[in-house]
């Protein structure tokens, strides 16, 4: 039996050693030395604050009870760290860019520097961490009792003194100053030292279990399945849930966020930690197994597996190893408590006390040089005491009856509630403050209801009966079986419901709400952390203030020395040799960032705004700078539009060009046609004239006939020339045709009369269909008749049928007069359809004057109507003339 005094003495000695290391580290850092303090190894070792007393003792217990499941607690962080490129790297970058001081600050800063978010996150973190801190007190107490053969009296005394000692250490080294970015070199040095000690202690006990108790490595492996049957199987739902919770915890636990992000001094350290930290976890876990196996094989039934690490050496009379193991466990517990309380007290003072003290100070008038720095440091000290007290009270209440592991998992599930907002915050620009708040609060309440309250086993708020059968006996609301879920592991149940609701609320509320402008700026800076330069975005918030006021503010928060250094360097940058720097928007934002490193983003923002009278962000500037991705997209889109426009223009040009070419070729064709039309009658005329001249012996009949041909071909020539002139005249000034209100039906009658007169010896026949009888239009009756004659003679001439039949129909509606002239010929081929109204173009196979249709169309158009070729069932072509009806009051 080891005496209690010896243990107390060794513990005190060990604590003194830690104080020494911390003091030395602080001094080295202050003197600018101590490269080892900023080395990746120290960084990685400080991450091992993840392995608490729960790991040191509880992992063996967990392995005995649930087999391989204990490994998930270390596999989750392993997966997150080997995937550092995905997530941790970004969070670390954001943390440095924005001088993030805690996970609550991170969320608050991302969601528009909202103090509400910070307060909610702080409260949640404190509630989730309290059982966890209690767990450490319990592990110290249990181990102390185990090693000295404890009595009931010692129970709370040990826990009390342990808590007091840790509070003293934390206050001494954790609150020496409001450090730039909350870096505590002394504390980190002590934590790193403890990390080494606890790992060596665990390995030592593991090796003792293998070689001192079991018969070597082979024996351990051979015995594994028999000693720990649970090692052979896994429970998939719990396995996946634990993997998820552990992965979330490694970044969401306030103390992990603190060592990973806040204390980080270089992104490269994360690269080293990406394999070295998993390595640490691997070593920790693998030595748990032989201890568990040796424990179950050799220890008497009923001994607490949570304490095998201690009781194995004890029962084998290896006191030195037992004491070393005790120190290892003590290290695990103290390092966790120290970092947790630093992280939590930072959150409490920055997000709860600072806004309150600001309010008090503003009530007393800003002129008073109230020392905010001292207030904050004191509140930090008080919060450390309060948090440890809370943990101690929790430990007293729950009586330490729970298995260690289950308490730790409650905390894991609690802090996992930060995960949806954190992940969405750095990957989804659309996530809004309201969404984050809804998700956080919803998830956190579900966690309280389904996991935290039932863990009190009826001693707090909910009775044991309510836990077992639902409040007021409503089975549907049973905390560990919501909506009738049965036989489901309480942890899996709580995780699914709380994280599920959290995520759903975050997404839905974000989609339904809008971001403030500051939120938009922050979301863009967070999500595009690798692309946007925060320094560039600083000048975006347009504020003005008196430099003197800013200096007073800076002195209060940063202390006189730091503030003076900062203002002097800013003044030099602005080219000023003496005096204060100008309060440019850029400088104000820089100051705000400096302050954020001490009091958190939300408080710093509020403080600076109080001095500078609020700020505005020009939306244009925001759009221009913050969202580089969006800007790129906009540029691309603009380019696309431009090229589309260019393409359209080019297409128009091409079309115009084609049209010009067509017109050109039509002009050629027109000339060629005119030439053809003129030369053909001319050829007859010349030929017959020469015949008449050179053939005096020609008989009279022939002579008469030839002269007749000459005459008729001359008439044809004249008519042709007239047509050409007509067309030219119409095209030049269509409006000049003298017009009157006339009855168009009479023009149709006239045209029919003229045309029928020429049909005497032709088989063609004209059929009159329905006629409307009378139609008042504003036109020239002779010209209109000319159009109808033209259409009729066209229909007859170009009719290949043996018995050409032309049908004429007229009708009118309220505004328009229609004349349709159709024939039973072969119709108009598709290729000709578009061209027949062009000058001088004839159908491919038809003959005759090519100017009739263009002239007719020109005439009708000058009267406000049109001629078109319309589609009709059956053979033949149908031309439709439309003319607007004339009403007398309509001025011509």
């Amino acid at each position: 039996m080891i005496s209690a005094n010896l243990i107390v003495f060794i513990s005190l000695f060990y604590v003194a050693l830690l104080f020494g290391v911390a003091w030395y580290g602080d001094r080295q850092a202050k003197q600018g030395g101590g490269a080892w303090l900023r080395s990746p190894i120290t960084y990685t070792l400080s991450l091992s604050v993840y392995c608490t007393g729960w790991t040191f003792y509880g992992a063996v217990g967990s392995a005995v009870r649930n087999g391989l499941e204990f490994a998930t607690i270390y596999l989750g962080p392993t997966l997150v760290f080997i995937g550092w490129w995905w997530f941790i790297r970004k969070v670390v970058r954001i943390g440095r860019n924005h001088r993030i001081t805690s996970i609550a600050d991170m969320l608050s800063s991302r969601f528009g520097k909202s103090n509400t978010v910070a307060v909610v996150a702080t409260i949640a973190a404190v509630i989730a961490a309290t059982p966890y801190i209690a767990l450490q007190l319990q592990s110290v107490t249990l181990s102390f009792e185990a090693i000295v053969g404890g009595s009931e009296r010692l129970d709370t005394t040990v826990a009390f003194w342990a808590a007091t000692g840790m509070a003293a250490f934390t206050i001494l080294f954790g609150t020496r100053s409001l450090d730039e970015n909350e870096r505590h070199y002394g504390v980190v040095a002590a934590i790193a030292a403890e990390a080494v000690i606890k790992l060596i202690a665990l390995i030592a006990v593991g090796l003792f279990a293998i070689y001192g108790i079991s018969g070597g490595l082979q024996d351990v492996v051979d015995n594994a399945a028999r000693a720990l049957p649970s090692l052979q199987e896994i429970s998939p739902p719990r396995w996946v849930t634990l993997l998820f919770l552990a992965g979330a915890a490694i970044i969401c636990l306030p103390r992990q966020f603190h060592v990973t992000v806040v204390e980080n001094s270089s992104e490269r350290h994360v690269a080293t930690a990406s394999w070295l930290f998993p390595c640490y976890l691997f070593l920790t876990s693998i030595f748990v197994l032989p201890i568990a196996i040796a424990g179950t094989s050799t220890m008497p039934a009923g001994s607490n597996p949570d304490l095998f690490v201690l009781t194995l050496p004890l029962s084998n009379d290896n006191d030195a190893l037992a004491i070393f193991a005790f120190i290892g466990g003590f290290s695990s517990a103290t390092s966790m408590v120290i970092v947790s309380t630093i992280a939590l007290s930072t959150m409490v003072s920055n997000h709860i006390v600072a806004p309150l003290s600001m309010w008090f100070l503003s009530q007393q008038g800003t002129g008073r040089s109230g020392d905010v720095l001292r207030v904050l440091l004191n509140t930090r000290r008080i919060s450390i005491g309060l948090i440890l007290t809370l943990g101690f009270v929790y430990f007293r209440f729950t009586g330490g009856s729970d298995a260690l592991a289950s308490i730790g998992l409650i905390a894991f599930c609690g802090v996992a509630q930060f995960l949806p907002s954190l992940v969405a915050g750095v990957t989804w620009q659309g996530a809004t403050r309201s969404g984050a708040l809804a998700g956080l609060i919803g998830g956190f309440l579900v966690w309280c209801y389904t996991l935290l309250l039932p863990s009190f086993e009826g001693t707090l708020i909910m009775s044991a009966d309510a836990v077992a059968h639902g409040p007021f006996g409503i089975e549907m609301l049973k905390p560990q079986g919501l909506f009738g879920a049965q036989d489901i592991d309480p942890l899996v149940h709580a995780t699914v419901w709380s994280i599920g609701l959290n995520t759903v609320l975050l997404i839905l509320v974000s989609l339904a709400t809008r971001q403030s402008i500051l939120e938009r700026l922050q979301s863009a800076l967070f999500v595009n952390a690798f692309r946007s330069e925060p320094a560039y975005a600083m000048g975006l918030v347009q504020r003005s203030a008196a430099s003197e006021d800013l200096f007073i503010l800076a002195q209060r928060i940063l202390g006189a020395g730091t503030a003076k250094t900062m203002f002097d360097s800013a003044a030099r940058e602005q080219g000023k040799l003496t005096g204060l720097p100008d309060a440019t928007p850029n400088f104000i934002s820089r100051l705000e960032q400096e302050l954020a490193g001490s009091v958190g983003a939300a408080s710093a923002h509020a403080m600076v705004n109080q001095t500078s009278g609020g700020g505005t962000i020009s939306l244009d500037a925001l759009m221009e700078i913050a969202d580089e991705a969006a800007r790129l997209m906009a540029t691309t889109k603009a380019l696309e539009l431009k090229s589309q426009e260019a393409e359209r223009t080019a297409a128009q040009l091409r079309a115009a060009n084609q049209r010009l070419r067509l017109l050109d070729s039509q002009k050629d064709e027109f000339l060629s046609q005119v030439s053809h039309e003129l030369r053909t009658p001319m050829a007859s005329i010349r030929s017959f004239a020469e015949i008449l001249e050179s053939t005096p012996e020609l008989d009279d009949a022939s002579r008469g006939r030839f002269a007749g041909i000459i005459q008729s071909e001359s008439v044809r020539l004249t008519r042709l020339l007239n047509d050409i002139l007509d067309l030219k005249f119409l095209e030049d000034d269509a409006q000049r045709i003298p017009s009157h209100a006339i009855d168009a039906e009479r023009s149709v009658d006239k045209a029919l009369e003229v045309t029928e007169g020429t049909l005497a010896d032709s088989p063609a026949r004209i059929v009159q269909g329905r006629r409307c009888g009378q139609a008042q239009v504003y036109a020239n009756s002779d010209r209109l008749a000319q159009v109808f004659i033209n259409l009729l003679s066209n229909a007859i001439q170009h009719n290949a049928s043996d018995t050409p039949v032309i049908t004429v129909e007229t009708r009118k509606d309220t505004n328009t007069y229609f004349v349709e002239i159709s024939d039973n010929g072969s119709g108009v081929s598709a290729t000709d359809r578009d061209r027949i109204f062009e000058k001088m173009v004839r159908g491919e196979k038809s003959r005759g004057v090519g100017l009739g249709l263009p002239i007719s169309r020109q005439i009708v158009r000058s009267f406000g109507g049109d001629i078109e070729l319309i589609d009709r069932d059956g053979p033949g072509a149908t031309f439709r003339v439309t003319l607007p009806l004339h009403t007398p009051d309509e001025a011509p």
Binding site: S672, S675, H676, E677, R679, T680, M682, A683, S684, I685, R686, S687, F688, E690, I691, S694, T695, I709, E713, K845, S846, R847
Partner: protein
């Protein structure tokens, strides 16, 4: 042996004047106004000389010209082409397609008869 001349032309007055002129000069003259029909007549009973209008309903004068030149049986048939279109390009096209002689309307009677006479010999 009378020389047979075939006129392919759709303007009736021109056909009339050509028939008058050529028969007066001792040629046996037939005429056809449709391109398709003309091509069939040429293959059935090839004339000694062909007087061909360039623009015809159905097959154009140029089509007939090319087809004649591509048909071994009538390949060497002398062809006088008439056209009312005044462009130079038409004359060149005709020459390329293998026309024997080319005249533009309106033509001189003497020149025309002389041309047919030369083609016949």
């Amino acid at each position: 042996m009378t020389v047979r001349v075939m006129i392919v032309e759709d303007e009736p007055y021109i056909v009339e004047s050509l028939e008058f002129l050529l028969s007066r000069d001792g040629f046996r003259v037939t005429s056809q106004s449709d391109g398709d029909q003309a091509m069939r007549d040429i293959l059935n009973d090839p004339p000694d000389v062909l007087v061909l209008d360039a623009m015809l309903p159905g097959r154009s004068g140029f089509d007939i010209l090319r087809e004649v030149r591509n048909t071994p049986a009538v390949q060497s048939l002398p062809i006088l082409m008439l056209t009312a279109k005044g462009q130079q390009s038409a004359a060149e096209d005709a020459k390329k397609s293998g026309v024997s002689l080319f005249m533009t309307k309106p033509f001189s009677n003497a020149e025309l008869v002389d041309a047919v006479r030369r083609l016949a010999s």
